[in-house]
Amino acid sequence: MNDKPEVWQGTLALMVLKTLERAGSLHGYGIARQIEQTSADLLSVNYGTLYPALLKLEQEGCIASEWGVSDNNRKAKFYQLTRAGRKQIEKETQEWEQMAAILARFLNPRIA
């Protein structure tokens, strides 16, 4: 249907965490829009897949949720990072960078 890369499970979690780190507290719709904008529409998030991912992060204790009121006075569930979530970001960022560095050496041997 379109040639934008699908968002796969592991990266979506990290994107959600990074988005929340930047935005503080945000509802599901907001997170979806942010991810879309940050990736410059490169990643087409099927918004629905976000919710199971949010639930998983919440079950793992990386984020917490509470009901609140949005800018245009709408009732919405707001998510925000927990301390465990911040640690998780650190850990995953490190892993990603490592991975990227390794891959880069393969893709561009001259740098090494």
Binding site: H27, P52, L55, Q59, K77
Partner: protein
Amino acid sequence: MRMIRAWILRIAGLFNKQRKDQELEDEIESHIQMHTEDNVRLGMTPAEARRQAMIKLGGVESTKEAYRDQRGLPWLETLWQDIRFGLRMLRKNPGFTAVTVLTLALGIGANTAIFQLLNAVRLKTLPVAKPQELVEVRIVGGNPGLGLSDGANAEMTYPLWEQVRKHREPFAGLFAWSSGELPIASRVEMRTVRCLWTSGDSFSVLGVAPVRGRLLNADDDRRGAGPGNVAISYAFWQSEFGGDDSAIGKSVTLGDRIFQIVGVTPPPFFGLEVGKQFDVALPLTTRALWWDNVLDRTDIWWLRVMGRLKPDATLTQAAEFVKTISASAIEATLPVGYAAGAVATYRKFRLSAFSAGTGVSKLRADYERSLWLLLGITGLVLTIACVNLANLTLARASARSREIAVRLAIGASRSRLIRQLLSESLLLAGLGAVAGAFLARFLGQSIVWFLSTQKDPLAIDLDADWRVLAFTSTVAILTCVFFGLTPAIRSSRIPPAAALSAGGRGMAGNRERFALQRGLTILQMAVSLVLLSGALLLVRSFWNLTTMHPGFRQDGVFVTYVNFTPLKIPMERCDAFKSEVLEQIRSIPQVESAALTTHVPVIGGSWTLGVHVTGAQGEKDGASKVTWISPGYFQTMEIPILAGCDISKMDTATSLKVALVNETFVRQWLGGADPIGARVRTSAEPGYPEATHEIIGVVNDTKYGKLQSEIPPITFVPASQLSNAGTFATVVVRSSAPLPGIIRAVRQRVSQVSPSIHIDTVVLRTRIREGLARERLLAWLSGFFGVLAVVLVVVGLYGLISYTTLLRRNELGIRLVLGAQRSNILWLVLRQGLNLAVLGVVIGLIGAVALTRFLSSLLFDLQPTDPLTLLVTSLLLVAIASLACWVPARRASRVHPMEALRYE
């Protein structure tokens, strides 16, 4: 940590679903509304805006579905769903459910019951600390019959034990023990208690701690110390003292000696012999109080020696070590007063160490083989039952093919469908296993009760342990897979379109579809033939044993054991006293005859002496059983005298020494020549000096040891010609009056002589029958399971033929319309079943010939491939099978053609 937290939350997600669903609904709704508003701001119409928002979300329902899967544990939820659905299906078919659960309960119950027994006598370790460290020290191959053996635990002599305990390098501790019975003083009745004689360290080495007071120690076990302290078992404490603490310090009179109770052993400790429960534990050396010199005699075998390995020692090391001390221990304990040949035999004995973690057991030696056999039998019965259930499930699955087709058509995956059908079977198997476990307890106890006799009750711990649980659940899962998996796979394989359009017709004539059922029925037939022929063999063998003539007449005889030790009669007056007791018994009017004997055939132990026989044809050396009797013995036992004459009162200690021998003796040691006048010289043993007897008569052969054993040569010598005869007397009494009354009269008469004489009576026929407990158990159980197998097979065959006939109704109707005779139809259906039966019987015969040879050691006077048995079983099975097919065949032939054609 995070994983655990997530799992807990997911399990929590299984509950309170309604509120959580509402929350999700709200969250999605707010998401769509926000998106819609944004879209409207971009210039869309409200309807289009909402539509686009929902597209972008990717479907409300599928989002919720994915969310719910993440929230809970989907497989757990579907499992729960399957179980609830299964339960609903089972409730809708109460007949099917009842039949299945009952069949499985019987099958699993029988298997578990036998396994429980096997577990108890074979696999369970002793209830002591670290039982795997226990080893036994004994003669390699056992004592072949040298000297005197007392009781079931006659593996070692006391002097030999004293040698062994000098060296203990690989052992953390060594101890010796023995078992036996003693009369206990009680005003109400005369009875005996089961005793456990233990050397001083026994309890500390075993790691058995008292529940009250203290247990015995080295101080209690001193040579020549006289009666002292005893410990009692928990069971005895409960039954005798009601579990009262005041029992400690009480005195108890055992065998006319007074002991003090010092402590109680814990409830699980039954002793060291599986199947027996001891009452009182006494110091080992106190055995000498009732048996002079037993601690010094190198020829009295009466105890077992066990030890605990040091934690770092292995059984192999221990065995090696024991072998190194063996020669010197044997050399230091040579038997005294024996002929040179016997001493040479003793010198060849070697000691070694054997694993003893599961204790010792006569029961195990007697029954292990039979129990494995029974487990095999019950396993086969369960297989037959499973085949029936598989056929039933297959039939039910084809009735449900429409339902299954619909499920497949609307998108159920095959694996999901198999899972659902299988969980129904699992449910049935589970219910069957639970019911079976209850049944097993009852069955197991019945078998224990069946094998117990009044004199010798079995104490078997049938409590389920992990082995029994593992066994039962494995059996349950196997049965479930067996009867549930194939039907599930098959029914999920039918293309939905075919099943939907066929609507039940057209499948009927499909031969391939029933190939599996036919094959299973043939298998069933074959297995049941094996079971039935095995059962018939065991039943006939038991019948042979009970109806055989042992050479004497069993009926109307009882044995009276008289113990007059308490009277302290001087040695030289003992014989006269015995005669007096015998005369008293003879003077009772209903007593037809009575006699003294040292050994009662079949039930009364064994005594062998070396003999040197001098006959007309030369001299021979051999061995013979020897029994000392008083005149009237042959008359009492009704053993015919074939030649020569009986002994009489004229045969005294000072007259010519005489003897009678049995036919086997004449054949074996006299080459069949005329035995009268031949001489038998017995070799010397302590208390039995060498003596030469002249043979004056020959008696009919009689069984001596077990009924199953060959008849040995037997020599009968007048009791008056043996000077050492002790303070025991065995009197055989014959009467044609009802025995209970006579027994009472005899007891009364003997107690008139002196009230302190101990007396015990046994009815000969009863005791001989009790000796056949194993054979009776095997005959009964195998017979029962054989019949059960046949019933199951008949039901299965009947079901299969009825079912296929029902499906062929249409075709049969057409045949009738086209002019087929009713007899044609009858034969058509009947032949279908008979083909299966005959094929099954042929395969079964091959199986029976191959398998029944495992029975040969359990059969008496019967070949395992006895042609008559196989023929009878085959004919019986074919006959029963035809009957099972005849009913549906007849029904089919009676059907009205129009009715059959209309049936659609």
